[in-house]
């Protein structure tokens, strides 16, 4: 029956040759588990896409005040609390999206490292690499905008820090801040803006970029391990899937290669499910008009001071900023330390990432033959790991030290939430709920 339907569709669309090309194309025999990270990223993206659509059916991007037994809250946070406390499987759905976001950043980053260290970005895959870097940046943008949507204290402070860094950019900073916020302060306009970017703009770009990336992967073929026939990125070494001569060198994508991908997909989804069940995301205090104290309420009802900090994958950057002086003064020209550490250096690193295939142009793919490229990346990675660990240690000590001593530099103290305009909150509570 299924075959007859397929034939009927094929007769009218000619889909079979295209599908056969994709499914039975040759993949180098020496691909190993490292080569499953790309498809693992795709699986997590699909999880995010699907769970996100259904979260969107419950989420209300509004900061209209809502009265709860524990104080005034807002509709955005309460709509999520409604989903997670009242709707069966709601907490699981949100947990999957929350942990899926974390895993996506990890898996996409690992995939990028695999491509980097194996020199897979070399000829003829430079363009695939560029698209991949865009996908990596989009993943970070998803994380940044999505983190804001619960509209609680944690979201507020993380975004306040980000906006503050954006504001420090030379020349473009102040307008960039207003564009990000959708106005002079962080408020309901920011919420609408981040919501639209997160659910409309980013998904459209992401789907196009992932589509292009996959098209290129299928069209050009997998690079394989940098050994044997594939060790050099030359016209001879490059694995042409369309060339019948290479038929014996490779295996069919389906079912041999995709089976490994499927096994990794199971592992990745299992991790997301496990975390969603055992560690459902917590909420911190709602952002309300007079809420100027940043505290997080834990499930055991003990509240602690909440350090103003971004999500963990941006922590290294946040920590990095702490080592910069408030200002670099060159006499004729001065620039804030925040701009150097938060904007200029990260921008240079991102540009270097884009430029990698054009800077490292030799045909050698083996990491041992590319010491400068590989050691530079290792140095950056070590820096990121150390900064992240230090930030975590700092934050663990946050409640134990005098709040006045953290953060040390005034440039890292974001605007207080009570800077939010009264107009943004739209007057007196009109709807009453319990939390």
């Amino acid at each position: 029956m299924a075959n007859r339907v397929y034939e009927w569709v094929d007769e009218r669309t000619g889909i079979k040759p295209a599908l056969d090309y994709v499914m039975y194309r040759r993949i180098p025999k020496n691909v190993n588990w490292f080569f499953t990270l790309g498809s693992a990223s795709l699986v997590v993206f699909i999880v995010q896409f699907v769970t996100g659509i259904f979260l969107g059916m419950f989420y209300v991007p509004s900061n209209a005040p809502v009265v709860t037994p524990t104080g005034t809250s807002n509709e955005a946070l309460e709509s999520l609390k409604y989903l997670t406390s009242q709707v069966p499987m709601g907490e699981f759905l949100r947990g999957m999206h929350h942990w899926g976001a974390t895993l996506m950043i990890i898996v996409v980053f690992l995939h990028m490292l695999r491509v980097f260290f194996m020199g897979s970005y070399k000829y003829p895959r430079e363009f695939t690499w560029l698209v991949g870097v865009v996908i990596f940046l989009l993943t970070l943008a998803f994380g940044l905008t999505g983190y804001f949507l619960p509209w609680d204290n944690k979201a507020y402070w993380a975004t306040a820090v980000t906006v503050k860094i954006a504001e420090s950019a030379p020349v473009l900073g102040p307008p960039l801040k207003e564009i990000l916020q959708g106005g002079p302060t962080l408020g309901v306009a920011t919420l609408s803006r981040f919501y639209a970017i997160h659910v409309l703009l980013l998904p459209i770009i992401m789907v196009s970029m992932v589509g292009l990336h996959l098209f290129l992967v299928v069209k050009i073929g997998i690079s394989g391990m940098p050994s044997g026939k594939n060790k050099d990125a030359t016209k001879d070494g490059y694995f042409d899937v369309a060339d019948p001569k290479v038929k014996k060198a490779g295996r069919a994508f389906f079912p041999y290669i995709i089976f490994k991908d499927a096994v990794v997909a199971v592992v990745v989804v299992a991790i997301i499910v496990f975390l969603a069940i055992t560690k459902p995301p917590e909420y911190s205090n709602a952002i309300t008009l007079n809420n100027s104290i940043s505290t997080i309420i834990h499930s055991d009802n003990t509240s602690t001071q909440l350090p103003p900090q971004p999500e963990w994958y941006f922590l290294f950057l946040f920590q990095f900023l702490k080592y910069f002086p408030p200002e670099f003064n060159f006499g004729f020209f001065s620039i804030s330390g925040e701009a150097v550490g938060g904007i200029i250096i990260p921008t240079i690193l991102i540009l270097l990432l884009f430029a990698t295939p054009f800077l490292d142009r030799g045909p050698k793919r083996n990491p041992l033959n590319r010491p400068i490229t590989v050691l530079s990346m290792i140095a950056v990675l070590i820096g990121i790991v150390i900064l992240t660990v230090v930030a975590f240690i700092d934050n663990a000590n946050f409640g134990k030290v005098k709040p006045a001593s953290v953060p040390s530099s005034s440039v890292f103290v974001p605007a207080q939430p009570n800077n939010l305009s009264i107009e943004a909150f739209g007057g007196a509570p009109s709807v009453v709920y319990t939390g």
Binding site: M23, Y256, V263
Partner: protein
């Protein structure tokens, strides 16, 4: 026929990588079904929360049991008598359902006792103050012992029965008496 004329029979080697291969071959078949099973499993894991939450509005209880207290004190202190209606305010209701835009904060009701010493919920008559004509709030006329609506002059008698303009009598609440306090059903509607 010479022996050399005998050709070695051609044995076609099975090519494991081509799609036309016999589907009964073990490894290939195992992988194929393994992939299908894994695909179905992952889809299932996604489908369970997605479908459960998606259909929830249709399967959850239509109306939550939410009580709203009438007046601030116990029923005995509210001054409810058998001869005149007592205008009272319903206490704010706190309700979790964000998708049910419901508030009973400051809603007006009229309460009267049906017997001299009311002891059970059935001994109280609680009328909704919403005019059944256009939804304005009716007022109780002490002297005439009747309700009038300021909007279009609708009139209801002392039992809440519509006398003029209004198409239906005033809504009668289902009353609950718990620990001496009067409650109404917060989501009771009068269709």
């Amino acid at each position: 026929m010479a022996l050399t004329d005998l050709k070695k029979p051609e044995v076609k080697k099975p090519d494991l990588d081509t799609p036309e291969v016999d589907p009964t071959l073990g490894r290939r078949r195992f992988l194929r079904w393994g992939i299908y099973a894994i695909g179905a499993g992952v889809a299932g894991v996604l489908a369970v929360p997605v479908v459960t939450t998606f259909i929830n509005p249709a399967v959850r209880p239509k109306r939550a049991e939410v009580k709203a207290q009438v007046g601030e004190q116990a029923a005995a202190q509210l001054g409810i008598t058998t001869d005149k209606f007592q205008p009272l305010t319903v206490q704010p209701v706190l309700y979790t359902d964000v998708f049910k835009q419901m508030t009973l904060d400051g809603k007006d009701v009229f309460v009267k006792a049906k017997t001299e010493n009311p002891t059970t919920a059935a001994d109280y008559l609680i009328l909704d103050a919403t005019c059944t004509h256009a939804g304005c709030t009716v007022q109780y006329d002490d002297a005439k012992d009747q309700f009038t609506c300021p909007c279009h002059n609708a009139v209801y008698d002392k039992t809440g029965k519509n006398v003029a303009v209004a198409p239906k009598p005033l809504g009668v609440y289902n009353v609950k008496l718990e620990e001496g306090r009067l409650f109404i059903d917060a989501f009771q509607t009068f269709e």
